[in-house]
Structures are given as structure tokens and as C-alpha cells.
């Protein structure tokens, strides 16, 4: 009987305690970092490394996507939003309206996408027009023979399209790069919810083609050389080529703060943009900032 009383006492106290906790504000030393799923590995690696630099500051990383990151910035539930695209004008206006501060975009790296195929796929190079034919809504390429290759181990020679889900930054970027503005992809592609998922699918699927960040390469897949506009020569995907601008399928990644960052946050962003932070960027498989854009 005493036990019952004890249990009810403890539970009611704990409920009250919880409500009390909830009423208190956020803790000071925790930097909330949230946003793009493309950047999640990068953000995680940076957070992990930064602990060694500044052990007192904790950085909580979560994904959810560029949109979520930016929206959270507006409701002040996040300190640093990760974005794999620039903010849209309306998002900037919204952020200004709700938080009273102009959001500031900090470029921290480049995401270079590669066209992935299974390692046994003989496809030597691919043009933008061919990609449009495969992925575009009006595209007619459904068999590997339409690209002039025969893929060993692929029954039916059907092209299995892999990509990202429709609201990821990667999807939007690839769509615009391949198809131009206002066009749509053909439905029925495998729209994976992570960059890793795309590469894993291709690794298991001889018939597949897909796009994903260069950082996600594994043994059973290979990159396809991306044709230049003249279609005779092509550029092998590499971080160096992305950095020099020769390889075109690459886009900047941002960390966004509400107003100019202060205190721990500015130290963190400066560190990310310094040589030390950029070393992490490169190690994680993203293209680092050119030396003249880094924080000294």
C-alpha cells in the first residue's frame, strides 16, 4: 500500500517537474544545428570535430531538410540552419518578419554531384541531353540500348532511375541543372530519402543509374564521366574539377544564421570556414571552399 502511494507520489512529482522544466528557457551552450539532409554527414562530422576544438560547446545536429532548417530559423528553434540551396526571397522575407533580423547565409562548402552507375555498367560518358531523356517527363529513354550500351547482369536492360525525394535540395538542383526551369521529372523513379540510399540501391542494382553527392561513393558503384557541351569530351567527376569550376554539377552549401552570428555561433562558423574546418569538409567527401574564400 505504501508502495502505491509512493508510486503515485513519484509520478505526480515527475509530471509536475517536467512541466516546470518545459517552462524554463533553452540551455545556453547548446548550438542547435538543423536542416539539409544532404549536409547531415558533413554537419555531423563538423560537430564531432569541433568538440575537440571547443569542448564546452555542444552542437546538436538534426536533419529534416533545408526547408525545415529555414523554417526553424524563423521560429527561433534553431541557431544555425543548414541549407543546400540559397534561401528563396519569400523565405528571407518571412524570416525577417518573424525574427526581426535578416538571415545571413554563410557558404561553407560545395556539394559536387556525380552520376552513379553499377560498377559493371560500361557507360563511358553521359550528356545532359541523355540525362534529360532518362529523367525528364517527356524523356523517352527507358532501355540501356537507348544510350547505346548493354549492361551485363541487367535483365530486360531496363533503366532503373534512382534519385532523391521530390523536396530535397539535391532533387531540385539536379532537376534544374538537367531539365531547366519549370520542367518536371518523370514519376516512377526510385526517390530515396537519403543520398546514401541512392548509392546503396545502385550498388545492388546493375540496371540502375542515379545522382548523389561525391562523398557517398562505395566499391560497387562507379562515376560516369560528364560530357561537356560539345559532347565529344567529358570531365571526370572529382573534387578538384568541381573546385576549379570545370565540373559543372556542383553547388554551394550554406549555413544560415538569423542576423549576424554572435558568441559561440560565430566562433563555430568561422572555424567551419577555416582551414581546419575545410579539412573536415574534404575528408567527408565534399568540395572545400577555395583558399581565398576561407576564414583566416
Amino acid at each position: 500500500m505504501r508502495k502505491v502511494r509512493l508510486i503515485s507520489l513519484v509520478s505526480s512529482i515527475s509530471v509536475l517537474g517536467l512541466l516546470g522544466f518545459a517552462a524554463c528557457g533553452k540551455k545556453s551552450k547548446m548550438i542547435q544545428n538543423k536542416g539539409s539532409d544532404t549536409m547531415i554527414n558533413l554537419a555531423q562530422a563538423l560537430a564531432e570535430e569541433y568538440r575537440k576544438v571547443s569542448p564546452k560547446v555542444a552542437i546538436a545536429v538534426s536533419g529534416g531538410g533545408t526547408g525545415v532548417g529555414i523554417a526553424s530559423l524563423q521560429n527561433n528553434t534553431v541557431d544555425v540552419a543548414n541549407a543546400s540551396r540559397e534561401m528563396k526571397a519569400e523565405e528571407k522575407a518571412n524570416a525577417k518578419k518573424t525574427s526581426g533580423k535578416d538571415p545571413v547565409e554563410h557558404k561553407i562548402a560545395y556539394d559536387a554531384l556525380a552520376i552513379y552507375v553499377h560498377k559493371g555498367n560500361p557507360l563511358a560518358k553521359v550528356t545532359r541531353a541523355q540525362l534529360a531523356c532518362i529523367y525528364g517527363k517527356e524523356g523517352t529513354c527507358t532501355k540501356w540500348s537507348d544510350l547505346g550500351v548493354e549492361v551485363p547482369g541487367c535483365s530486360g536492360q531496363e533503366i532503373v532511375r534512382a534519385g532523391r525525394q521530390n523536396n530535397s535540395g539535391t532533387y531540385a538542383y539536379f532537376r534544374e541543372w538537367v531539365l531547366g526551369e519549370g520542367k518536371d521529372f518523370k514519376l516512377g523513379s526510385r526517390d530515396m530519402s537519403g543520398s546514401k540510399d541512392v548509392v546503396d540501391l545502385i550498388a545492388h542494382t546493375p540496371c540502375a543509374i542515379g545522382y548523389s553527392g561525391m562523398g557517398y561513393k562505395i566499391n560497387d558503384v562507379r562515376w560516369v564521366c560528364l560530357s561537356k557541351e560539345d559532347a565529344d569530351t567529358c570531365v571526370e567527376p572529382s573534387l578538384a574539377a568541381a573546385l576549379s569550376g570545370e565540373y559543372k554539377l556542383s553547388r554551394p552549401l550554406y549555413m544560415i544564421t538569423s542576423g549576424a552570428p554572435e558568441g559561440d555561433i560565430v566562433s563555430y562558423i568561422n572555424w567551419v570556414r577555416s582551414d581546419a574546418g575545410q579539412a573536415v569538409v574534404e575528408r567527408t567527401g565534399y568540395a572545400p571552399l577555395p583558399p581565398d574564400q576561407r576564414h583566416k
Binding site: M1, K3, V4, R5, S8, S11, S12, S14, V15, L18, F21, A22, C24, K26, K27, M30, Q32, K34, D37, I40, N41, A43, Q44, A45, A47, E48, R51, A58, I59, A60, V61, S62, G63, G64, S72, N75, T77, M192, S193, G194, S195, K196, D197, V199, G215, Y216, K217, I218, T284
Partner: protein, 291 residues
């Protein structure tokens, strides 16, 4: 001579009987085999990763090495906080249904609500958590939001189990108590609840195991992919085992197979262990019940 007992068909009857037995046995085995196969596979591939270091260290090198300690601690937080919310509410709700309410349309509505609460898809609970706790009550993405979502989701488990054990307490116990002048609540507190504590415990344990395994409701309400610090209050975000397994298997490249399998093994092991405890408790009560 009955409908069934025509001697001409007797042999065929027995053949059908045997066939039916074999088919039904086969079906049942077909259900059990996958469980054993899956558990076996998880143990076989995950066990090499298990070590104290794996359990008690942080993930490092972009989660491709190290352990899962923050995820374990995070799961404990989520489970603990959700339990603290759903246990009192669930037990009292069961007390109401069993001790106070009669069989009216009103209780039928409550009963229906409980059944439906149990049947609402987990992703709808997630949408609810986002709409209600994260945005409306402004708890943000935090342990509190995630735990509240989990608590509501798992409430039916506690109500059902508690109600069952309350109704097993013989009416004569209550009557004896009322006859010495105790009020209804006194009777419940001093007689009914102590006599059904084991059943309540079973419900609580099942709630724990359910909450520990859920993923969809916490992704958008409070679980983070990576948090280098252990949570220190309910306003923090946290890692969680189930979320970690999802992240490892769909988001992070080049994770050694043992780490993913190891995480899955720890999650399943935890859930199965908790369930095992509840099964033992339940069978003990059944055996020991004196009335």
C-alpha cells in the same frame, strides 16, 4: 448416428483431420521460422560488434566507428519521460473505467476512443506531435515533445493491461472494504491497486518496450541524428536507438556492417528482454493468484 459419424467416410475424415493438423502446424511454423531466422541473423552478424566499448562510447568518424551510448541514453530519456506521463494517466483511466464507470454509451465512447488511439498510424501520431507539441505548445523539437507523442501513442497499452488486472480483483475484496466504512478511493488505493500491482507493472513494461522501438513519431518531434552531448533536460534534442538504426541504414555511407547489425541487435535485444520480463511477471501472477 450423428451427422459426422458415417462410417463410410470415417477414413477420409481422419485423413482430412491429419491433413488439417499438418497444414495448420505448417502455417504456425512458417510464422515462427522468420522470427527465429531474423533473431539468429541479427545475433550472428551483430554479436561481433557488441562490447562494453560499443555500448558505452560515442559514435565517431561520422558514425562509422565507435559506439551507441548517446542513443541508448536518449532512448532511456524518451522512454522514462513518456512513461512518467502515460503511467499515471493510463492507470487512473483504467481505474475510472473499471471502478467508477458503468456500462453506458459514455463508457462505450471511451472504450472506442482507446481502441482508436491504439489504431492511429504512427505517422499520424507524428503529425499530431508536430502540430500540437512542437508548434502549438511551442515545446520545439525536444525530448518533451517526442515523449508526449510517445506517451499518448502508448497509453492504450497501459489502460488495457491495468484494466484487465483491476477486473481480476474479486468484488468481495471491495465489498469487505466498503463494509468497514472506507470510501471508494480508499478502497481502490488500499485494496484494489495493491492487488493488481503486477498487472499494472506488465502494462508499464509493455509500454516501455513499445516506446523504445518507435521511430516515426520521434523523427520530427525530438530525435536528432547526432548530438555529441548526453541530454540534460527535456528541452534538449537527443539521439535514440531506433532513429540511430534508421540513420545508419539509410543515411550514412560506409558504416561497417557490424555496427548497423549491432545497433539493431541492441534495439531488438532490449525490446525482447523487456517483453520477456513482462511475460515472466504475467505467468507468475497467473500461477500465484489465490482467488
Amino acid at each position: 448416428m450423428g451427422v459426422f459419424a458415417t462410417s463410410a467416410t470415417a477414413r477420409r475424415r481422419h485423413r482430412t483431420q491429419k491433413l488439417a493438423f499438418v497444414v495448420l502446424l505448417g502455417v504456425t511454423v512458417l510464422l515462427i521460422l522468420p522470427v527465429l531466422a531474423i533473431l539468429g541473423m541479427l545475433v550472428y552478424r551483430g554479436a561481433p560488434a557488441l562490447s562494453l566499448e560499443f555500448l558505452f562510447s560515442e559514435p565517431v568518424r561520422g558514425m562509422t566507428a565507435g559506439g551507441i551510448w548517446p542513443a541508448i541514453v536518449g532512448t532511456m530519456w524518451l522512454v522514462g519521460v513518456s512513461l512518467a506521463i502515460s503511467a499515471p494517466i493510463g492507470v487512473l483511466a483504467a481505474v475510472y473505467l473499471n471502478e467508477y464507470a458503468g456500462d453506458t454509451w459514455y463508457t462505450r465512447v471511451i472504450h472506442l476512443a482507446i481502441v482508436n488511439l491504439a489504431g492511429v498510424p504512427s505517422i499520424v501520431h507524428a503529425l499530431f506531435g508536430v502540430g500540437a507539441f512542437v508548434l502549438f505548445f511551442e515545446f520545439g523539437t525536444s525530448i518533451l515533445s517526442a515523449s508526449l507523442t510517445l506517451a499518448i501513442m502508448t497509453l492504450p497499452v497501459i489502460i488495457a493491461s491495468t484494466k484487465e488486472s483491476l477486473s481480476a480483483v474479486p468484488m468481495s475484496f471491495r465489498e469487505a472494504c466498503w463494509n468497514v466504512g472506507a470510501t471508494r478511493w480508499q478502497t481502490i488505493r488500499h485494496v484494489v491497486l495493491p492487488n493488481s500491482i503486477a498487472g499494472i507493472l506488465t502494462g508499464v513494461i509493455l509500454q516501455v518496450s513499445r516506446a523504445a522501438g518507435e521511430t516515426a513519431p520521434i523523427i520530427f518531434t525530438g530525435a536528432a541524428v547526432f548530438v555529441p552531448f548526453l541530454p540534460s533536460s527535456v528541452n534538449d534534442q537527443t539521439m535514440a536507438l531506433s532513429m540511430h538504426l534508421f540513420t545508419l541504414s539509410t543515411q550514412v555511407q560506409n558504416v561497417p556492417q557490424e555496427i548497423t547489425y549491432g545497433t539493431a541487435l541492441v534495439l531488438v535485444g532490449l525490446v525482447v528482454l523487456i517483453n520477456g520480463v513482462s511475460i515472466v511477471i504475467r505467468s507468475r501472477i497467473r500461477r500465484r493468484r489465490k482467488w
